[in-house]
Symmetry: C2
Subunit: 397 residues, 2 copies
Amino acid sequence: MTDFTATRSLFQLPDGVIYLDGNSLGPLPRAATARMTQVMQDEWGEMLISGWNHAGWMAQPTRLGDRIGRLIGAEPGHVVLGDTLSIKVYQALAAALEMRPDRRVILSDSGNFPSDLYMAEGLIRAFGRGHELRVVPPEDLADAITDEVAVILLTQVDYRTGRLHDMADLTARAHAAGTLVIWDLAHSAGAIEVDVAGTGADFAVGCTYKYLNGGPGAPAFIYVAPCHADVARAALSGWLGHVAPFAFEQNYRPGAGIERMRVGTPPVLAMAALEAALDIWDSVDMAALRARSITLSELFIEKVEATCPMLELASPRDPNQRGSQVSFRYEQGFAVVQAAIAHGVIGDFRAPDIIRFGFTPLYLCEEDITDAASVLARIMAERVWDNAIFRTQVGVT
Amino acid sequence: MTDFTATRSLFQLPDGVIYLDGNSLGPLPRAATARMTQVMQDEWGEMLISGWNHAGWMAQPTRLGDRIGRLIGAEPGHVVLGDTLSIKVYQALAAALEMRPDRRVILSDSGNFPSDLYMAEGLIRAFGRGHELRVVPPEDLADAITDEVAVILLTQVDYRTGRLHDMADLTARAHAAGTLVIWDLAHSAGAIEVDVAGTGADFAVGCTYKYLNGGPGAPAFIYVAPCHADVARAALSGWLGHVAPFAFEQNYRPGAGIERMRVGTPPVLAMAALEAALDIWDSVDMAALRARSITLSELFIEKVEATCPMLELASPRDPNQRGSQVSFRYEQGFAVVQAAIAHGVIGDFRAPDIIRFGFTPLYLCEEDITDAASVLARIMAERVWDNAIFRTQVGVT
């Protein structure tokens, strides 16, 4: 059983801060700085170029990939780290379109994170082969899956509301129509139980700087289902995805399985910080974490609704239908978030009116939740956004 | 005038090692670990999500880009950091092809680094619009520039021989044919004087972990000429290249100028190490560095040729026609490099028979060069590769 009191002590959290924004950027694992110093001084500094082999840098993207793989229910050997989430979306999309050459539609929903849609838009424009990005409301997805659709690109947890897609159900519906699915797990990995293998997901991508606490700009990951791993082609065919990178052949030959989803030189220093974060994750039971996340978020909703009647719950009320965040709607939401931050409660705002709080059991406890709710209640009672000086300070015009 | 004795003290160099492989991975700047610790502890640890604004993380890719820009003769505001070199090659290629829609040929040479060719191959395959990658010997390039060619993709300095392309001449020939040019500066930036603005280069890309000493997996950079900056379209259209990323609009609108070449979340930790490296570069005069690089490499050639008649110079003899490396050909080159490494002289080997040494004046002096040449002479005299035990140890079969 994961001891969540113990995990809290493994993070550096500033005094006087209740951090409900680990869904944007996770906090610093205390061990990360020492690990980074070791990699810089003892590996880069002393091994120099030989670090690629002697310190195992070259194998790190798949080694860390497997540790993330456990958290998302992936088969070992089918996750690799590198690049950014946007790049991994592009890779998965390009591979999927090639696997469905007779279909022209990329289906997504309006709850998807805009960058995923932008990447699809840019790919379609660059390919110039008449693909169409069809974006429907999340609730219309199931009906929009037709045999025109080559691939569905979805973020499982809506970044604004926390609404959670049923991965098993949508994947099954897609497969019944001969459609592939790419799951963006940006707000899922380390937040909820995910089972990419069990649900038959074709591709999954995600980032490691949110719930996984890998640090600002930490690398992304990609999962390719075993049945596709040796079929999917990498449009971004860089030398480390080549079957024999150090043969320096003139022509590209894709590497085996997930290796072909590597592109350029791996981000060794960024991986050092992530490694320290994964040392914590290795001992976490995802079912226990999910249960604890629900306990904390239910407590928060209860307290806030009892004291802040003006805030309207924007997240699904059923905890099984949301990720590990809770959002409220309020017209003056931006000012409310700014006031909360000024009082040490860090959440964030998403236009036009969403106040968003993330629940991260590794370093949050009940007391944090009730304290945060109290701060919010005080801010709402004081109507600080009516104060002209405050409005000037936080830039509300 | 740059004081190269002073710059040497700014790097951590292992005892007993003469490092002639800074063209693969530069050594650790002594200040980098402290800078990294500060970014991790004081920025990530204490500022958490607000580091994006308060610590200036969001602006770092263009701020550091300008500091690299000075080293390659770019106009301020036209270089941005991010991703890997392979990704930046793809971005430049995709943008260039869109600017020459009626042409179908990507021209490159057989001295280009394979990853650049692989990226072009993958792009052509993914686009599926009948583009052709035409690879000619370097000496045939000038004649191969015809009005069929949309874009020329060249690495200025050949990674094996160090042969240096004349950027001004080839760019002028290309432009006369209505052809665009992408210069890969992987072995140029921080190695030789480069003038992307003066030569009229359309695009330039490069990495920061070689001569620039940014650390293993440090981010890449891309330059887009001012005349193209608001025209070039980003096929990899990520949210940080959007004109208003935090408006979370559903459709992509490219950002102004070089900003549109940003893709995903910037690698903040990797940039911290690079920043410490650029603190050193800021005071370096590139003409003085180039002169010093020539002095050191000429000395090395002189010493090696005097004592190792079996090694055949693979680099151009004229220092103005090579970058900051010197290569020799020898059938048993792999064993020679392994033996040199065992004696503390780090160079590297490139198949099938190239022994490669990089000259990096920031931390190398005449004594290093003469000592390295002596070690090489001893190895060649001892014919260590004829020794069966040695052959087994270094894996020569």
